[in-house]
Each structure stands twice: as structure tokens, then as C-alpha cells.
Point group: C2
Chain length 133, copies 2
Amino acid sequence: MSKQGLAGLGQDGVDDCCPGLLTAPLDEAWSVELAKVFKALGDPIRLRLLSMIASRAGGEVCVCDLTPAFDLSQPTISHHLKLLRQAGLIDCERRGTWVYYWLLPEMTDRLAGILTRPAGRPLPEPAGTAGDA
Amino acid sequence: MSKQGLAGLGQDGVDDCCPGLLTAPLDEAWSVELAKVFKALGDPIRLRLLSMIASRAGGEVCVCDLTPAFDLSQPTISHHLKLLRQAGLIDCERRGTWVYYWLLPEMTDRLAGILTRPAGRPLPEPAGTAGDA
């Protein structure tokens, strides 16, 4: 596990903490951390859960309102939510019987930034012929 | 496989083809397509390959320049490149002995857009108390 973990990604205020994916080759440690977050997003159930949480008016949602949307058991839903939480995409709090979830927008902001082309540098079209061997 | 596949995502010019992840609950078919792309990004080797391709001056890179950066066999690298290509993130062309790869920036643009908060609508902070049961 690298010190440059994505766990701290949304916690500091440093805008240049995270090299873009399109600007320079990623180093190995950073690619490992970043892959964990994309892997968490690489499942349709987790994407639907994340979108339900993120788009909820009021900013948070009770797990009791998430489960009925899926033909899955409560433990399965909870497992998917745990993976989203471990990736730093959401957080939660138990209140009485239920657990409430909310988006950590710093993480989705970072991912959007990482996937955005560098300003003033449109990516070139590939040449018709090989530029180098 | 849905008709709204991500295969066509970078091929049409329709900006509103792809619902954002943060604006409304994703439908099931769309979440399946989107998860495939994030899953392709959910691997450190593929992230490093993509960053090497995307950041290459001239816009394309020979597979012969990618392989030496990894302690992996040529077939393994080619397999990872194939998964990136199947996800619509890169494309390639064989010229003589070698295959040349380039980024499909429409796809990373789309992903960045999907992860971006809706304009003029900052995501609310979670309330201190439950808003609904």
C-alpha cells in the first residue's frame, strides 16, 4: 500500500495531489490506488447504488430505501455499499435501526479531474503513418 | 447487451446520450454498459498502459514501446490492451510488424462528464439528523 493512497485523496486540499491519467505515465504505486476506485465502480449494482445515493435530495439516503430497488438480499447490498465506502466514494452513519449513506463528492471530483484532458492541450489525432518505430 | 451500449458512446455526437452518475439513479441497462468501462480501468497495468498511450507526444504509441515498461510478457500486455480496446478507451492499427495504439478521447471525456457534478447544483452536505426514515 502506497503512502499516496486514495484514502487521503478527498481529505487534503491539495489540488495537484493526483496526476491526471492523460497527462503523463502513471507511476506504479498511484496506479494501484487509482485502480481500486475504478474497480469499485466496475459493477452495475454499485454504480446504481452510487447514483441513487448521489442524486438523493437532501444528500443522504437510508439503506432501507436502497434495498427495495434491487432483487438482492440486504447483506449483498451491504457488501456492495462497503466496497464503495472502502473506495472512498461514500460514507455512512448508523442512526438507530438504519444506516444512512452519502456521497463523498471530493472523490468523484478527483476522478473527473483525472479523466479530463489537460487545459489548452487537445489530444492529437493519430497520424496516418507511424511517427516512430 | 443494451442498444444504449458504450460501444456507440464515442461514435455519435449526442451530448445527452449518457446520464450522469450524480444526477439521477442509473437504469439497469446503462449501469451494465458503464460498469464494463470502469472495470477496464480497474486494473493498475491497464491504467498505466492507458496513461502511456494518452500522454504520448504525437498521439500514438507502438506496442514495442509499451512492453519494456512492464515485467510482463508481450501476450499479457496485448491482453490488457485488448480489454482497453473492447471498452472503447483506445483503438489500434497494425502497420507491418507492430501494432500502434491511440486514445479515444471521446470515451474519457464522457466518463469525466458522467462523474462531474451538475452545473449550479452543489451536492448538499449530509444533514446531522435523518431527513426521512
